[in-house]
């Protein structure tokens, strides 16, 4: 009877063997992921465990590398657009915007007034869907099954609305160089107003059910400390930075589009822990609602074009040069850098994904932590894997 497992089967792979080189002899090397309910897709984290305590962690990625940047170099400017909706399926419109913004900057395209406001509205609605998705999935990681159902209920309303102009539920390819592909209709505006009113009533319920719950608070408070020092060292952005007390929000600090017209707060927390990041996101949802409300009011009449006249065709050539454009996505700073050699195919497209920097903090933040807490920290970073792997 062999009770020693076949070494062929338990030899691990390249990564784990490398990881195990520095391991203590009495520890357990554990793969968390790629198929694991709490890594949201296919992140793989190698853990060195002493009992339940994590001595070391090392994220391994590339399990969802989709060659986005390479693809950018093979497709015409406009043809690359659809892929922007797939880099980060949580908040695709921010990537839409970042890419469009970069190309518009490169080619000097003016965006009509109405399109700008439409962009803000849809972008913020998309942020809401992104945060709701995160919220539900995060609480699911923490072991409560019901909140995600409520979150998706709200999310479905948003998706129904966003589907009207975009014809899609998730992987939007809505923005165009010089505007957006389809105008908003009356129903959308009405529906959005109704939704905001409804959502305002739902937020206190979320707070009652989850935010105030003592079990949850005890679980996420004081774990996964990512302070300002770490934030700056790793270049983390978005709610992770704001949870560390850094009021860095591109919508305010480097306003893009017409964000400077709206009055909203940049929520920050100084606790630096998972709860801080959680609260920042919850607060951001309220602020998004405010922005949408204001934008709906400012929406120029239907006569305004939603796409600039003579907007470039997908195969159009772009002037040589380079441009960088960054927007504030649901996870942080989404940046696109494009280089053109004057042909109809980009010379280089570089994507700056916020998730990558945020995830980098994880290895340091989770040292010495319980396995269960590590899951809570991982969730609080709000990772979307394709964006990290690109």
């Amino acid at each position: 009877m062999t009770r020693y497992p076949d070494p062929k089967q338990v030899g691990g792979d390249f990564y784990s063997r490398n990881f195990a080189k520095n391991a203590r002899p009495d520890t357990l090397i554990l793969n968390l992921g790629p198929q694991h309910p709490s890594t949201h897709g296919v992140l793989r984290v190698l853990l060195e465990l002493d009992g339940e305590y994590i001595l070391r962690a090392e994220p391994v990625f590339g399990y969802l590398h989709r060659m986005h940047e390479k693809m950018g170099e093979t497709k015409a400017w406009g043809q690359f657009m659809p892929n922007m909706g797939r880099v980060d399926y949580g908040h695709p419109l921010s990537w839409n915007w970042a890419y469009c913004g970069a190309v518009e900057k490169l080619a000097g395209i003016e965006v009509p007034e109405r399109a700008e406001v439409i962009r803000v509205i849809t972008h913020e609605m998309n942020r809401l869907t992104s945060h709701l998705l995160w919220w539900g999935a995060y609480i699911l990681d923490l072991g409560a099954f019901t909140p995600i159902m409520y979150a998706f209920d709200d999310r479905e309303h948003l998706l129904d609305l966003l589907q009207r102009p975009t014809a899609s539920r998730l992987t939007y390819s809505y923005f165009r160089f010089g505007g957006v592909s389809k105008d908003l209709d009356e129903k959308f505006v009405e529906g959005t107003k109704a939704f905001i009113a409804r959502f305002r009533q739902r937020l206190p319920m979320y707070k009652d059910l989850v935010t105030d719950n003592i079990i949850l608070r005890k679980r996420v408070e004081d774990i996964g400390i990512i302070d300002q020092d770490m934030v700056t060292r790793y270049g983390a952005t978005g709610p992770v930075a704001r949870g560390a007390g850094l009021a860095y929000d591109l919508r305010v600090s480097e306003p893009f589009g017409v964000y400077d017209r709206f009055d909203f707060k940049v929520p920050t927390q100084t606790t630096c822990c998972s709860m801080g990041r959680y609260l920042v996101r919850m607060e951001e949802m309220e602020q998004s609602c405010r922005i949408i409300e204001q934008a709906l009011e400012q929406l120029p009449g239907a006569e305004g074009p939603h796409l600039v006249k003579g907007a470039p065709k997908p195969q159009a050539k772009m002037p040589a040069g380079e441009a960088y454009f960054a927007v504030e996505g649901g996870r942080g700073k989404v940046g696109v850098y494009v280089v053109s050699d004057g042909s109809k195919i980009p010379y280089r497209v570089k994507l700056r994904a916020p998730g990558f920097s945020n995830l980098s903090c994880f290895a340091e933040a989770c040292q010495g932590m319980l396995l269960a807490d590590a899951v809570a920290v991982l969730g609080s970073l709000d990772l979307i894997i394709p964006e990290i792997d690109r």
């Binding site: 019901t146 014809a167 719950n213």
Partner: protein
Amino acid sequence: MSAVKDIFQSVKDLWSLFVGLRVTGKYFMQPTLTVHYPRETVDEDVEQTYGGHVELVPKPKNPLKPKCIGCMMCVTNCPSGCLTVVKAKAPKPTPEEEQAMKEAEARGEKVKKPKAPKEPAKFMYDYSLCSLCGTCIENCPVGSLRYSNNIYFVGTSRKEFKLDLLQRLQRQAENTAKAAPEASEPEQAAETAKSEA
């Protein structure tokens, strides 16, 4: 003092558990939100705004023929290369015509060669590569493409997703004709097709 505070805090913390129970209890009583899919479908409104795979728009006069003029704009612009359009060739002249043409040539007259009709002979579409981006739809000069409403599409083999859009158009037209046999006027048929789609 701090002990009192602690106790007070603990009570408050415990209370939060009851608040949670109240929330879920309340929702337990409320009706469900589910759309019982195969028996009922989501609002028409939602269903119609969702883009299924791409399909051809028939000519208003002739529901059997697409509006398409075979300009290939959609093919060149599609990022995923899922469209294949073969332009219609000029109809092969019949022997008599050929004869006539030859004669005419011999006569030194300007030959009136039959022109290729502006329509596709074949319009193939590989749905399994499509990203539903809408580029083809936007760039079609005559508006011959649109999102279909075939949104509940599944298959048991990869081949099923290589669609012949022309055939599909014809099938649709037939279906419409069957559905509305009294509407023999082509315009009317086209209209019904449009509204149903």
